[in-house]
């Protein structure tokens, strides 16, 4: 994708509700035909950001550009953007067909590329039936929306938005109310629809797995700021700070210090790593994914520890290993019995070094030897 195809650009967007600042100086651009996910815990400002793009909220300061033109003050009905709402928001006084046709009925025949009213009616019929096919709801035209299941209602809500052929589709946690299996199906379907139609999707979710599955780009948000933007693999492999590492996937986050380029010290041990450009002896956060720790014999490990607990997770076992003053989360396909002594090794490129951030909730992995850990306290 070309870097310069910026469809939507947010510049220094701030939003406050009363005294509460929800968004703090957000800069973000969204490319054409991109599937971008705003990912973050509840209250991080992701929905507010989406609502600002949709025109339902005005930013307190900053501007929103659409193809380079300011659209900050333009009301929702004049934007070439459509939204799929969290609770579907279907019109229950209309049947399925009229719900989908709602947006098209508001347009003039000319806007639909036809001349007469009769042609408009036929054109609407053609587009609605194409949409019903896309969302796999053919034959439901005359049904009342009240008689549909949650998954079906969501399909209609998606069709109702997409039928207007928007440049951008906004989706506000659209799969939140569906059960796990249906959610997984819909994730793949949504992704397929986006690729088939070539529309920009801006998707809001707090589910990191959903974000990794569907997105071309993920913007991780916390505390009203964008923490990191990048493609899923980059965000997973190279989290920019401890929050991102903790939020995307599971990770061990250990305080350490950078002795020199490519050499870090944590858990009283020196490790080779591949990070450079830190100050000498700078305190850092070290992030290591549970699946990147290899369990080896006690005598050959870089770290040694005692297995505190083992949980079977399907594909792998998840073990908590106490080594020094830390509890390490380790994923392995072979099980080690509780209480056994094990060794652990980590290859240099799996050690991620991050500048220390102010994250009060991170060190839940400190092991207190008298049996009381902070996690259990």
């Amino acid at each position: 994708m070309v870097q310069d195809m910026r469809l939507i650009e947010l510049k220094g967007v701030c939003k406050s509700f009363g005294d509460t600042e929800v968004l703090h100086d957000v800069d973000l651009y969204i490319r054409k035909c991109e599937f971008i996910t705003l990912l973050g815990p509840s209250g991080c400002g992701k929905t507010t950001l989406l609502r600002i793009i949709g025109g339902f909220e005005m930013p307190t300061s900053g501007e929103v550009l659409f193809e380079g033109k300011d659209m900050t003050g333009i009301p929702p009905h004049k934007r070439r953007i459509n939204t799929v709402f969290q609770k579907y928001a279907l019109f229950n006084h209309l049947n399925v067909y009229d719900n989908i046709a709602f947006g098209l009925n508001l347009k003039t025949p000319e806007q639909l590329g036809v001349k007469t009213k009769a042609e408009k009616k036929a054109e609407i019929e053609r587009r609605v039936s194409r949409m019903l096919k896309l969302v796999k709801m053919e034959g439901y035209e005359k049904r009342s929306t009240n008689a549909l299941s949650g998954g079906q209602q969501q399909r209609i809500a998606i069709a109702r938005a997409l039928v207007n052929e928007p440049e951008v589709l906004l989706l506000d946690e659209p799969l939140g109310a569906l059960d796990l299996k249906l959610r997984k199906e819909m994730q793949l379907e949504l992704k397929a629809m986006q690729q088939q139609l070539g529309i920009t999707f801006i998707y809001v979710t707090h589910d990191q797995e959903e974000a990794l599955t569907m997105s071309d780009t993920i913007a991780v948000m916390n505390g009203g700021r964008v923490q990191q933007i990048g493609d899923p693999k980059r965000i997973y492999d190279e989290p920019k700070n401890a929050f991102v590492a903790d939020f995307i996937g599971e990770s061990n986050i250990i305080p350490g210090e950078m002795l020199e380029d490519d050499l870090v010290r944590f858990s009283d041990t020196e490790f080779q790593c591949v990070d450079e450009g830190f100050e000498k002896n700078e305190p850092v956060d070290v992030v290591i994914r549970p699946e990147d720790i290899m369990i080896v014999g006690e005598d050959v490990g870089m770290l040694t520890g005692t297995v505190q607990s083992v949980v079977f997770k399907g594909v792998h076992y998840e073990m908590i290993v106490i080594s020094g003053q830390f509890k390490w989360k380790v994923q392995s396909t072979t099980m080690q019995p509780v209480g056994s002594r094990v060794g652990m090794t980590i290859v240099p490129y799996n050690i991620h070094i991050m500048h220390r951030t102010d994250m009060p909730n991170i060190p839940d992995n400190i092991y207190v030897p008298d049996g009381e850990s902070r996690e259990e306290a």
């Binding site: 929702p76 009905h77 939204t83 279907l90 019109f91 006084h93 947006g103 508001l106």
Partner: protein, 271 residues
């Protein structure tokens, strides 16, 4: 004990005070004072004088319902709007008059509208000519609207308040300007509230009595007054019953009509 038994006190109540009296009404309507079967009671109602009274009752009830809807819908819409935080206390203000007996409210209205009443005194004090208010049809309609307005506001308010705000945002999102949001989404979605409002105002309004007598000084004579007269002053239960029965059928028919307009409405439930 089966759960349905808990309703037995009410069932007994209903039989004693609804079913049995209704059977009496049917009996009287089809008999002469001596107890012989007859249809004369109904042919009496077909006379122009009676039909005129019936027509007046329907006409005034329609005025009253239309006025209640015109005043009530915007009120309910305003009260239910999201940005209005003092709605609760205003809703209470709308309900408070309903805590008083309607006769008291009507007597209060009388003192306002009388020739030497509060309003006329005020107007004369300001140098304006006094107005004939009491004894006019307008006074009766005013009294009816005053009594029945809360029954229009409350069901509409409830429906509008329950409406999910994201539905309105969805309408904006799909291209509705503010006017179209109201005409294409808010109004159609509030129809159930409007239908129950109309039902709750029109039904009692058609059979209004006393309000008309008190506020028109007897000039406006409605079906309700006529039924009262037949039973009490003229002691003719048979004609009184037949008029009651005709009114009952008319009311049932109009509920049925409203149900046709909106099959999901909360009002009625007979069809």
């Amino acid at each position: 004990m089966k759960r349905s038994w808990y309703a037995s006190p009410y069932a007994l109540w209903m039989v004693l005070f609804t079913v049995v009296p209704l059977l009496f009404v049917c009996w009287y309507a089809f008999t002469t004072p001596s107890g012989a079967f007859t249809l004369d009671n109904f042919s009496k109602i077909a006379q122009p004088m009676y039909l005129l009274v019936l027509w007046d009752s329907l006409r005034l009830a329609l005025y009253c319902t239309a006025l209640c809807l015109l005043i009530g819908y915007p009120t309910a819409y305003f009260l239910a709007s999201r940005d209005f935080s003092r709605a609760q206390s205003l809703v209470v203000l709308i309900i408070v008059p309903m805590w008083m007996n309607f006769l008291l409210r009507t007597y209060a209205m009388m003192t306002l509208l009388e020739d030497n009443g509060v309003l006329n005194t005020l107007m004369r004090a300001m140098g304006l000519p006094g107005m004939k208010m009491i004894g006019t049809e307008g006074a009766v309609v005013l009294g009816m609207v005053y009594n029945y307005l809360p029954f229009m506001v409350l069901p509409i308010y409830t429906v509008l308040k329950k409406m999910d705000y994201s539905v309105i945002e969805a309408a904006q999102d799909l291209g509705c300007n503010p006017l179209q949001v109201v005409s294409r989404v808010v109004l159609p979605m509030s129809i159930p509230g409007v239908v129950s409002g109309i039902t709750m105002v029109f039904m009692p309004a058609v059979t209004t009595f006393s309000i008309s007598r008190l506020l028109s000084s007897g000039m406006v004579y409605l079906v309700g007054d006529m039924i009262e007269d037949y039973f009490i002053s003229m002691n003719n239960r048979n004609v009184g019953s037949s008029i009651s029965l005709v009114m009952l059928v008319l009311i049932i028919l109009s509920i049925g009509f409203l149900r046709k307009v909106d099959p999901d409405s909360e009002g009625g439930g007979l069809w």
